[in-house]
């Protein structure tokens, strides 16, 4: 086992410049996580153009630190303002906001940050141990295996994502179609450009992310005329230490949450179900189950541990297989390609300094992150007290700058507005946006894997099923795709009654 690799990583992550980059990343990330309309994925997308001139390792440290910051920031708004910044912080509001209303905001925040840290650390340790092994296995993969894994990625959105499976499917397909617009790099032909030269470049996923998540979210949040009802909080060292004294009592909740988070997290779209699942388990096993929803600290620990364990675990398939587990990881993967790195298992062989620098920076970034958010909570919470009519145009301008900077073209700013409207409509109609973005990023890779596989087999789709590894993955993928059809049928057989719709609806 290569501990020398991890030491190599730390020697890169702990240089003054990279520590500085991490601090900036966490700071910006937390602000982004607190602001409505900005989250991990579009925060990373907006900053991506600024990293083009940086060394790749520092660039990825900046972006991952931003991601940790955004994860921490989500907890602040959930607890103090009852606004879940991200879908996976919804469960944190159940008990976090009541605690803050009862004057226990400091305790709730300390518990949330500490649980986030524990969950993240658990996943990082597992990544350190398993990533090299997984990459080793993945080195033997050919195009059919990679295509099978991509299919598995998307099947899990349809089968496990909750909501309407047809709408998930349409989101995926639309993402792939948008990815195919422009020059076909294999044959050199133009596809779906309809004679417009602007369409030759195709749609950039960065612009799509900024529009769909950023502008779309802003439009959605102004609908209700946003009036924040924030609970005020003071963060004192005594409160932090007091809470830390209590937390070890809940070690079972921590362990359960971390395992659920990691297990759900390295599959795409896993963080949200993981946080709800962890909350439900904690409530079920708790002696104080009746206190849940009224301000029980365990109800904060459970979802936060799981959500962060899942958020970090989403990085595992990105660095080992080149397949992102979350929209944010998808944007980072796009960054890797722009920095001239080939995502996938070869990274461990060709760029060990990059991979291990990244893994080591996950430790340092999360340690720095938890210290920073604990120290500066009142400052971050103050951001939401800025009047709404100032925040809104500021966020729109930041989004426009980010979109323009990708290719230095104003047409991208127009695309951003269009994607914003699409995001608004899709969100309201429950079309999930994450699979669309993932498909847009992975489109070319998936199509190439499919084409190469078909060339290998001279046009027969059987190749995906006869090779043992891809066959096994395909079987799981097909099972996930069929799950929405199988589940109601299975329920009917067992109960003889129509299935309750509430169980899937509650996940939103």
């Amino acid at each position: 086992m290569g501990f020398e690799n991890l030491f190599l990583g730390f020697s890169i992550a702990i240089t003054p410049y990279n520590i500085f980059v991490a601090v900036i990343g966490i700071l910006l990330g937390t602000i982004i996580g607190v602001l409505p309309g900005l989250g991990g994925a579009n925060g990373v997308a907006i900053l991506l153009p600024l990293t083009f001139t940086m060394p790749p390792t520092s660039a990825i440290i900046l972006l991952t630190s931003l991601y940790w910051g955004a994860l921490f920031g989500g907890a602040i708004t959930s607890i103090l303002f009852n606004i879940p910044g991200e879908p996976w912080s919804v469960a944190t509001t159940f008990d976090g906001y009541p605690m803050a209303r009862q004057g226990q905001g400091g305790q709730a925040l300390t518990a949330a940050f500490t649980s986030s840290f524990v969950g993240a650390l658990f996943s990082i340790v597992l990544i350190t141990l398993f990533a090299p092994l997984l990459a080793e296995i993945a080195l033997k993969f050919g195009p059919p295996e990679f295509f099978a894994i991509q299919l598995l990625t998307f099947s899990s959105f349809v089968g496990l994502g909750g909501g309407n499976p047809l709408k998930s499917l349409v989101s995926i397909l639309l993402g792939f179609i948008l990815a195919a617009v422009g020059l076909d790099i294999v044959t050199g032909q133009l596809r779906m450009t309809f004679g417009f030269t602007e369409l030759m470049k195709g749609f950039d996923f960065i612009v799509a992310v900024i529009g769909l998540f950023g502008i779309g979210e802003i439009l959605l949040s102004v609908e209700d005329g946003l009036h924040f009802h924030g609970a005020r909080t003071g963060m004192k060292l005594a409160v932090v230490l007091e809470t830390w004294k209590v937390l070890p009592r809940y070690w079972r909740t921590f362990v359960r949450g971390a395992f659920i988070g990691f297990w759900m997290g390295f599959k795409p779209g896993g963080a949200t179900p993981a946080s709800f699942m962890s909350y439900a388990f904690a409530k079920r096993f708790s002696k104080r189950a009746d206190r849940f929803g009224k301000g029980e600290i365990e109800g904060v620990i459970a979802p936060e541990t799981a959500a962060h364990a899942a958020g970090v675990a989403a990085m595992l398939p990105m660095i080992t297989l080149g397949i992102p587990g979350s929209p944010t990881a998808a944007v980072m993967l796009g960054g890797l390609i722009i920095w001239g790195l080939q995502p996938g298992p070869m990274l461990f062989k060709e760029k060990p300094d990059f991979v291990w620098g990244l893994i080591a920076s996950m430790y340092t970034g999360n340690i720095l992150g938890v210290a920073m958010v604990l120290a500066f909570v009142p400052l971050f919470a103050a951001i939401l007290r800025i009047p709404f009519a100032i925040l809104t145009p500021l966020i729109v301008v930041v989004c426009a700058i980010g979109s323009y900077a990708v290719h230095n073209s104003i047409i991208d700013v127009w695309y951003m507005l269009i994607f914003g409207v699409v995001g608004y409509v899709f969100k309201k109609l429950d079309y999930p946006l994450a699979p669309l973005v993932l498909a847009l990023v992975l489109g070319d890779l998936a199509e190439n894997a499919l084409r190469q596989s078909l060339i290998m087999s001279q046009g027969s789709l059987g190749i995906f099923f006869v090779r043992p590894i891809s066959g096994a993955i395909m079987a799981v993928a097909v099972f996930f795709f069929l799950l929405p059809v199988l589940t109601p049928w299975w329920r009917r057989r067992r109960q003889g009654t129509p299935p309750p719709v509430a169980s899937t609806a509650a996940r939103h």
């Binding site: 349409v170 639309l174 596809r191 779906m192 802003i218 100032i390 301008v397 084409r451 060339i455």
Partner: protein
């Protein structure tokens, strides 16, 4: 809600059909170097049309009273969207810095009714900070217009 669902499904079907028509000309079969250009998009579009048709049928069968958006809720949405669109139009002529300053000033005054002092400080300050960070530190150029040319940049 139902009407919006139906319209969206119809729009998706339309997109799918346009894609199918376009890629049929590229060829969707087997070429000299394996699958032709239109192969992958064709099957994607076919699947999308089928899925969108199914969504359309679902939407037609269920009736919900909840409206997609009420007039009261649409107003603030358009209040963000319309000036933002105007900003991009202005950006084409005057550059990003002037356009964003005008946009922020307009929105803060029109929607927020903030005092002019706040408006001037923010709508001048933010573009200056942006200029320093992007043009000077990270060397990422933003679109500039006659105003920046007059200042000598």
């Amino acid at each position: 809600m139902r009407a919006a669902d139906v319209v969206t499904a119809l729009a998706l079907i339309l997109v799918g059909v346009i894609v199918i028509v376009d890629v049929l000309q590229l060829g969707i079969g087997w070429g000299l170097e394996g699958p032709e250009s239109g192969f992958f998009p064709f099957w994607l579009a076919v699947a999308m049309v089928v899925a969108a048709l199914a969504i359309l049928l679902q939407a037609l069968r269920q009736a919900t009273a909840r409206p997609f958006v009420t007039a009261a809720k649409l107003r603030p949405v358009l209040a963000v969207l319309a000036p933002a669109t105007a900003m991009v139009v202005v950006m084409e002529v005057l550059g990003l810095y002037v356009a964003s300053a005008l946009y922020m000033a307009f929105y803060m005054r029109w929607v927020g009714r903030h005092p002019w002092s706040t408006i001037v400080v923010l709508s001048v300050g933010v573009p200056i900070v942006t200029f320093v960070v992007f043009e000077k530190w990270f060397l990422v150029p933003m679109p500039k217009g006659p105003f920046e040319a007059w200042l000598g940049f």
